[in-house]
C-alpha cells in the first residue's frame, strides 16, 4: 500500500538515463537530442547611459539611495485582445514594485518621468563594430523598439532595444555557429529583494548600454555551448570597448531535448557554469517527457483532468511545524499523479519542486509552500496523508499535497498547481529558469512570445549610411578565429588561449612580436602562463597592465637584458605598480654582468664540483653548475645558452 518515494525517485532518474556530466559523451547528448542556443549580453564601455546623460557604471549598495518610488505594471492587450503569457502571469502576481534611486546614477529618465534623449552614439558605434565582426547584415536604419517586461525590472514596463544586424556567424575551430541577430538595448534594474507581493529594485545599472548577440540553437553538447559563449565574449572584448568584471557579461541559455521545449536559463554570469546547467536542463526535460508518458497511461482523458481541493480543518495537521505565513491550509488531490510528485527532474529535485517553484513566483507564496505525499523525508506521517486522501475522496492512483500560505493567494495557488499539472500531461512548458551555481535551476517566469514588441514612439529612426559603416569597417580588429589560428601557428600552447582572449591580450602579443621582434611562443606563454599565474597571487591587476608589459619587454630589449628576467620582474610590477624598471632591478639586487664573465666561471665551478660532489654524473654536474649560476645568469644570458655551454 505504502508508496516508496525514494525508490521511485531513483528509478525515474535511472529511466531518464541521467548520469553526471563527467561521464557523459557526445553520444549521450545525441541520443536525447540536445539542442542549445545563446543570448549573450555584453555591457559597452561608454561614459554615459544609452538614452540619458547619467554616468554609466556607477553602482550603489542597496541601502544607499536618495529616494524610493512605487509602481505597478499593467499588461496591455495585443491586437487580438489576448494577454501575452508572461503578461498574464505577472498580472496575477500583483506585485508592488519599489525603485530605489540614487541621484548620482539615475535621473528622471530611469524612472520614466522623462522621455528618452537621442541614443548614445558612442554606444551605437561600438555595437556596430561588434555587429560587423559578427558578420551580420547591418540594417539601413535603426528602429528603436519597445519590448515589454512586466516583472518591473524596467520602470517603463518595456525595454528600449533595436536590431543592428541579422544573420551572421562566428567560426569555432570545429564548426560555424550562425547568429540570428544582434541588438543594442538598455540594461535593466538590479533586484534587491522579492518577497511575497513586494519586489525591490535599484536603478543604478538601469539604462546602461548593452548588446545582445543571439545564436541559432546549433550547439550540440554542453561544452560546445560554453565554447560558443566564450567565442562571442572574446569577440566582444576584442574591440577593447566593452565593460569587464562582475555582471558586465551575462547570458541566457536556451536548451531543449528531442520532443521538449525551448527553456531559457536566464542571467548565467559565468560561462563555466553553462555545461552543468545545460546538462541538467536537457535531462530535466527528458525525464519530464517520460513522466508524461507514465501519466497518460493512467489518465485517459487529459482534457478533462481537474484537481480536487478542500480547506484543511486545523486539527488534521496540529502537530506539524508549519511556516509562519501558513495562515490557510488547502489540501489538493491530483488524480492519477501517484509517482509523479517524486519523479526525478534534476539532481536533488523532483516534480513537486516544479509546483513549489511556481507557487512562489506566480502565487507569491514564500517557501516552504507545499507539503506532499511523496516527500523523501515525510513531514506528515503516512496515516495523516491517508486521512487527507480520504477527505479529498482520493483514489489509489492519486497524489495529494497541502498548500500552505496566505488565504488571499490561495485562489491563484490552486490555479497554478492545476495549470502546471495539465502542462505535465502535454509536455514541457516554455519557461525561463533561474540558475544556481550547483548547476540546477528553478522556475522564474513564463517565456514571453514575440508578441511583445512595438515601436518606440518617443524615438526617431537612425539612418546608417554606407560611409559610416565603411569607416567603422576600416578599424576592426581581426576575427577571433584568425587570432586563434595565428596563436596556433606561433606554437603558443593552447591552454593559454582562453586567458589571452578573455583579457584581450592578443593585440599586445602581436605588437610585442612585430615591433620588438620577440619570439611569439615566448610572448604568448608569458601572458598565458606567467602573467596569469602571477595575477592569481597579487591583487589589483587589470587589463591596462598589459601595456606595461609591452614597456617591460621594450626596456629589456633596449638594455640588452635577457628576456627571462621579465619573469622575475613581474611580481615586483604587480606588487609595486608605481615603481619604474630601474628601481625594480635595484630592489631585486640585479647586477648587469657580461655574458663572458658568467661563462668564465664555468671552469672554476667544474673544479669545485669535482672536489665537493663525489659523483661524476653529467646531468648532476650540469644541474649543480646551473644552480650556482642561475641567479646571476638570469637576465644576462639565456639559460638554454648557458646549459648548452656546459
Amino acid at each position: 500500500m505504502t508508496f516508496n518515494s525514494k525508490k521511485n525517485y531513483e528509478q525515474t532518474r535511472k529511466a531518464a538515463g541521467y548520469i553526471p556530466r563527467r561521464k557523459a559523451t557526445s553520444k549521450t547528448y545525441k541520443d536525447i537530442g540536445f539542442m542549445s542556443g545563446l543570448e549573450v549580453h555584453q555591457q559597452l564601455d561608454t561614459r554615459e547611459k544609452l538614452f540619458c546623460h547619467c554616468p554609466a557604471g556607477i553602482y550603489h549598495a542597496s541601502e544607499n539611495y536618495d529616494a524610493e518610488l512605487k509602481r505597478h505594471m499593467r499588461p496591455t492587450l495585443s491586437e487580438l485582445g489576448e494577454y501575452d503569457g508572461t503578461a498574464l502571469m505577472e498580472f496575477k502576481t500583483r506585485k508592488e514594485i519599489f525603485y530605489r534611486i540614487k541621484n548620482d546614477s539615475a535621473c528622471t529618465y530611469e524612472v520614466d518621468d522623462t522621455p528618452p534623449f537621442p541614443m548614445n552614439r558612442e554606444a551605437l558605434g561600438v555595437a556596430l563594430e561588434i555587429s560587423l565582426l559578427s558578420k551580420l547584415n547591418v540594417v539601413g536604419e535603426v528602429h528603436i523598439t519597445r519590448k515589454q517586461y512586466l516583472d518591473g525590472s524596467i520602470p517603463t514596463g518595456f525595454q528600449r532595444t533595436a536590431i543592428l544586424g541579422v544573420e551572421g556567424e562566428i567560426r569555432l575551430p570545429q564548426k560555424k555557429i550562425r547568429l540570428i541577430q544582434l541588438s543594442i538595448e538598455e540594461d535593466s534594474c538590479r533586484e534587491i529583494s522579492d518577497i511575497g507581493h513586494i519586489r525591490v529594485y535599484k536603478t543604478d545599472r538601469l539604462g546602461m548600454p548593452l548588446i545582445e548577440t543571439v545564436t541559432y540553437p546549433e550547439c550540440e553538447t554542453p561544452e560546445e555551448v560554453r565554447q560558443t559563449c566564450d567565442y562571442i565574449r572574446f569577440l566582444n572584448r576584442s574591440t577593447g570597448k566593452v565593460r569587464t568584471g562582475m555582471g558586465a557579461g551575462r547570458q541566457d541559455v536556451n536548451v531543449s531535448c528531442r520532443g521538449g521545449s525551448r527553456v531559457e536559463i536566464k542571467g548565467v554570469a559565468h560561462t563555466k557554469w553553462i555545461p552543468e546547467l545545460t546538462h541538467n536542463e536537457v535531462f530535466r526535460q527528458w525525464s519530464l517527457l517520460l513522466m508524461k508518458d507514465m501519466l497518460l497511461k493512467k489518465i485517459k482523458n487529459p482534457d478533462k483532468w481537474k484537481i480536487g481541493s478542500k480547506e484543511l480543518p486545523g486539527h488534521v495537521l496540529h502537530d506539524v511545524a508549519l511556516p509562519e505565513h501558513a495562515e490557510q491550509l488547502v489540501a489538493v488531490n491530483l488524480p492519477g499523479f501517484q509517482g509523479a510528485l517524486s519523479w526525478f527532474t534534476q539532481p536533488g529535485q523532483m516534480f513537486a519542486d516544479e509546483l513549489a517553484g511556481r507557487l512562489k513566483v506566480i502565487a507569491c507564496i514564500e517557501h516552504p509552500n507545499l507539503l506532499h505525499s511523496e516527500e523523501l523525508k515525510p513531514t506528515i506521517p503516512e496515516e495523516q496523508w491517508q486521512e487527507i486522501a480520504k477527505l479529498l475522496d482520493g483514489g489509489p492512483d492519486d497524489a495529494q499535497l497541502v498548500i500552505t500560505g496566505p488565504s488571499e493567494d490561495m485562489k491563484t495557488a490552486l490555479e497554478t498547481v492545476e495549470e502546471r499539472c495539465l502542462m505535465a500531461l502535454n509536455g514541457i512548458p516554455n519557461e525561463t529558469r533561474k540558475s544556481f551555481e550547483d548547476g540546477t535551476t528553478v522556475f522564474e517566469r513564463v517565456l514571453p512570445g514575440a508578441d511583445r514588441m512595438y515601436p518606440d514612439t518617443d524615438s526617431a529612426p537612425i539612418p546608417l549610411d554606407d560611409d559610416y559603416i565603411q569607416s567603422l569597417q576600416k578599424n576592426l580588429p581581426e576575427d577571433i578565429f584568425d587570432r586563434y589560428e595565428q596563436l596556433k601557428a606561433w606554437e603558443v600552447p593552447e591552454d593559454t588561449y582562453t586567458y589571452i582572449f578573455s583579457k584581450d591580450y592578443f593585440p599586445l602579443i602581436k605588437q610585442i612580436v612585430t615591433e620588438l621582434g620577440i619570439n611569439p611562443k615566448f610572448a604568448g606563454t608569458f601572458f598565458g602562463h606567467t602573467l596569469k599565474h602571477a595575477e592569481g597571487q597579487y591583487e589589483g591587476t587589470d587589463v591596462l597592465y598589459g601595456k606595461k608589459i609591452f614597456k617591460l619587454f621594450k626596456y629589456l630589449k633596449e638594455k640588452e637584458l635577457n628576456l627571462m628576467l621579465a619573469k622575475k620582474i613581474l611580481p615586483f610590477m604587480l606588487q609595486y605598480p608605481k615603481m619604474d624598471f630601474e628601481s625594480i632591478l635595484l630592489e631585486m639586487k640585479f647586477k648587469k654582468v657580461k655574458k663572458e664573465t658568467i661563462l668564465d666561471c664555468i671552469p672554476v665551478l667544474n673544479d669545485k664540483f669535482d672536489k665537493e660532489c663525489k659523483k661524476n654524473n653529467k646531468t648532476d654536474r650540469i644541474n649543480w653548475i646551473m644552480g650556482q649560476l642561475r641567479e646571476n645568469a638570469l637576465g644576462n644570458i639565456s639559460l638554454t645558452e648557458l646549459s648548452n655551454k656546459l
Binding site: 522623462t114 547584415n137 540594417v139 518595456f158 544573420e167 529612426p461
Partner: protein, 461 residues
C-alpha cells in the same frame, strides 16, 4: 487606392516599392549590398525620410533598409493587419452611480497593435472595460465622443461644446461626469468649464495621462479609476482635475479647475494646486478631503451653463527691455483684452507706458498677473505699480495667468463695459482669486538641502 497599398511611403522609397511590386503588409525577401533581409513591410511614418523601407522581422523587431543598398526584392506573401478591437460588454451593476465619460481626443486607455505598433484608443465602455476591468466596480459607465482634437488644439469652440454637453447630461440626471483630455491644456479647460458651468450639482472631473496608456507603467488606468470614483462617489460638485499626487502609484489629487497648473513637461505628478491646497486626496478605497469648504453635491439639476467666449484676448509675457511696439501691435491687431504677465509683484518697464496709455485710450481691458506663478500682484508697493494702475492696468490678485486669460475671454464674450468687466474679473467664481494664501500653498522644495533630501528619502516621491 495607391496610398492604401504604399501607406506612408513617398518619393524614392515609393518608387522602389513600385519597381519591385511590393506592397505594405507584403512578406518580402530583400537582397542588399549589406546582405539579405526577410520580413513584413510596414507602413512608414509620414515625417520620416524617403530613403528607407521598414520591415518587421520574424523576431518581432522593426528594422529599416536603405533603398540605395537594395539589389533585389520579392513579395512572397501578403497579410494585412487587422485593427479590430474586441469589446466586452461593460457590466451594469444596480446601485452603482451612473458616470458619463466625454472623450475629447486624448487617449486615456488604449490597446496596442503589435503588428503595426499602432496605439488604438479604447473608448467605448466595452473597450474601456477590456482595458481597465476595475472600472466596473466603481460605476456604470456611458461614453460619448464630443470631438477629437489634440490637447494643444483645444480651444473656445471645444470649451463651449463641452459646457453644453455637460449641461445636457445633468439635465438627464447623471451622477457625475468625467472628461478625458490631453494634459497640456487640461488646466485651461478646467478654468473654462468652471466659468461656463456654474452651480454644478454633480462633480465634473477632468483627467488625462502623462505616460501613454500603451505602456505597462502608464498612469492612465489609475487616473481613470480615480476620476470615475471622484465623479461617481465624491460629494464635491465642482470642476476638478484628477491626476497623480506623487510620481508613485500611490494616490491622486483633486485640484480645483481654477487653481491648478501643469508644472513639469513629463512627470506624472505634474499637476499642482498653486497658492492653496488641493481639494482632496483620492485612492481606490477612499476620498479624503483636504479643504474643508467646497461646493457639495446636490440632487437638483439647477446648473447654469454660460457658454461664452471671446477670441479677442491675448497675453503679453514681459521681458526686460520689451519695446512698446509689441503692445501696439496687439492693439492694432484688434485685441480687446490683454493679460500682462509681469515680473515680481506685477511690473513692466517704463518704456511701455506710452503704449499702455494708447491701449487704454482705445478701451483695451488690461489685467496684471505674475511670472512668479505664486503670490499676489501688489501694485501699490512701488511707484511703477501705481503708475501702471493709473494708466489702466488692473491687478488680478493671485489669479494664474492662464486662468486670467480664460476668464477675460469668457467675460468679453458677454460684455464690453469696462466697469462690468473689472467687477466680473475681480469677483471670484470659484477661488480663481483667493483672499488668503495658506502657508502650505507654496511648497517648492530645494533638492540638496539635507532636511529636504532626508524627507524625500523617507516619503515616496
Amino acid at each position: 487606392m495607391t496610398e492604401d497599398i504604399f501607406q506612408g511611403y513617398r518619393g524614392d522609397a515609393l518608387d522602389v516599392l513600385k519597381k519591385y511590386e511590393v506592397r505594405v503588409w507584403g512578406a518580402v525577401q530583400v537582397e542588399t549590398t549589406r546582405g539579405a533581409f526577410e520580413g513584413t513591410v510596414l507602413p512608414r511614418a509620414e515625417n520620416d525620410d524617403d530613403q528607407h523601407i521598414v520591415i518587421k522581422i520574424i523576431t518581432g523587431y522593426n528594422i529599416g533598409i536603405d533603398i540605395r543598398t537594395i539589389t533585389n526584392m520579392k513579395e512572397t506573401g501578403y497579410k494585412k493587419a487587422n485593427y479590430k478591437i474586441p469589446e466586452k460588454q461593460f457590466p451594469v451593476t444596480p446601485g452603482l452611480p451612473k458616470v458619463k465619460l466625454f472623450g475629447t481626443g486624448g487617449t486615456i486607455a488604449s490597446r496596442l497593435d503589435y503588428r503595426t505598433g499602432a496605439v488604438i484608443p479604447a473608448f467605448s465602455p466595452g473597450e474601456l472595460y477590456g482595458a481597465v476591468p476595475e472600472l466596473a466596480d466603481i460605476c456604470n459607465l456611458e461614453t460619448e465622443k464630443v470631438f477629437a482634437v489634440f490637447s494643444e488644439n483645444m480651444g473656445p469652440k471645444q470649451y463651449i461644446a463641452l459646457a453644453k454637453a455637460i449641461g445636457k447630461e445633468i439635465e438627464n440626471g447623471i451622477d457625475g461626469i468625467v472628461v478625458g483630455h490631453g494634459t497640456d491644456t487640461l488646466h485651461h479647460t478646467g478654468a473654462a468649464l468652471t466659468f461656463m458651468c456654474q452651480n454644478l450639482p454633480v462633480p465634473v472631473v477632468l483627467v488625462g495621462s502623462q505616460r501613454s496608456s500603451d505602456r505597462p507603467s502608464s498612469d492612465a488606468a489609475l487616473n481613470l479609476m480615480h476620476a470615475m470614483k471622484a465623479a461617481g462617489q465624491s460629494d464635491i460638485a465642482e470642476v476638478m482635475v484628477c491626476m497623480f499626487g506623487p510620481t508613485s502609484d500611490e494616490y491622486g489629487l483633486l485640484h480645483k479647475g481654477t487653481r491648478v497648473r501643469k508644472m513639469h513637461s513629463s512627470y506624472r505628478s505634474t499637476f499642482r494646486t498653486i497658492g492653496d491646497t488641493p481639494l482632496a486626496r483620492i485612492n481606490r478605497k477612499e476620498i479624503v478631503p483636504i479643504k474643508k469648504k467646497y461646493n457639495k453635491r446636490r440632487s437638483d439639476k439647477d446648473v447654469q451653463i454660460l457658454p461664452y467666449f471671446s477670441d479677442d484676448v491675448t497675453m503679453l509675457y514681459y521681458y526686460p527691455g520689451m519695446k512698446p511696439d509689441t503692445l501696439d501691435a496687439m492693439v492694432d491687431a484688434g485685441y480687446r483684452g490683454i493679460i500682462f504677465v509681469g515680473t515680481g509683484l506685477g511690473h513692466v518697464n517704463k518704456e511701455l507706458y506710452p503704449a499702455i496709455e494708447r491701449a487704454h485710450a482705445k478701451g483695451v481691458h488690461m489685467f496684471m498677473t505674475l511670472q512668479t506663478i505664486w503670490g499676489y500682484v501688489h501694485m501699490f508697493v512701488y511707484d511703477t505699480g501705481r503708475d501702471m494702475m493709473a494708466k489702466g492696468i488692473i491687478p488680478a490678485g493671485n489669479m494664474l495667468p492662464e486662468v486670467a486669460w480664460v476668464k477675460l475671454s469668457w467675460i468679453l464674450g458677454q460684455t464690453s463695459d469696462p466697469q462690468k468687466v473689472k467687477e466680473m474679473m475681480l469677483t471670484p467664481i470659484n477661488d480663481e482669486i483667493t483672499l488668503r494664501e495658506p502657508y502650505n500653498g507654496y511648497l517648492v522644495y530645494q533638492g540638496g538641502v539635507p532636511d529636504v533630501d532626508d524627507f524625500v528619502r523617507r516619503v515616496y516621491k
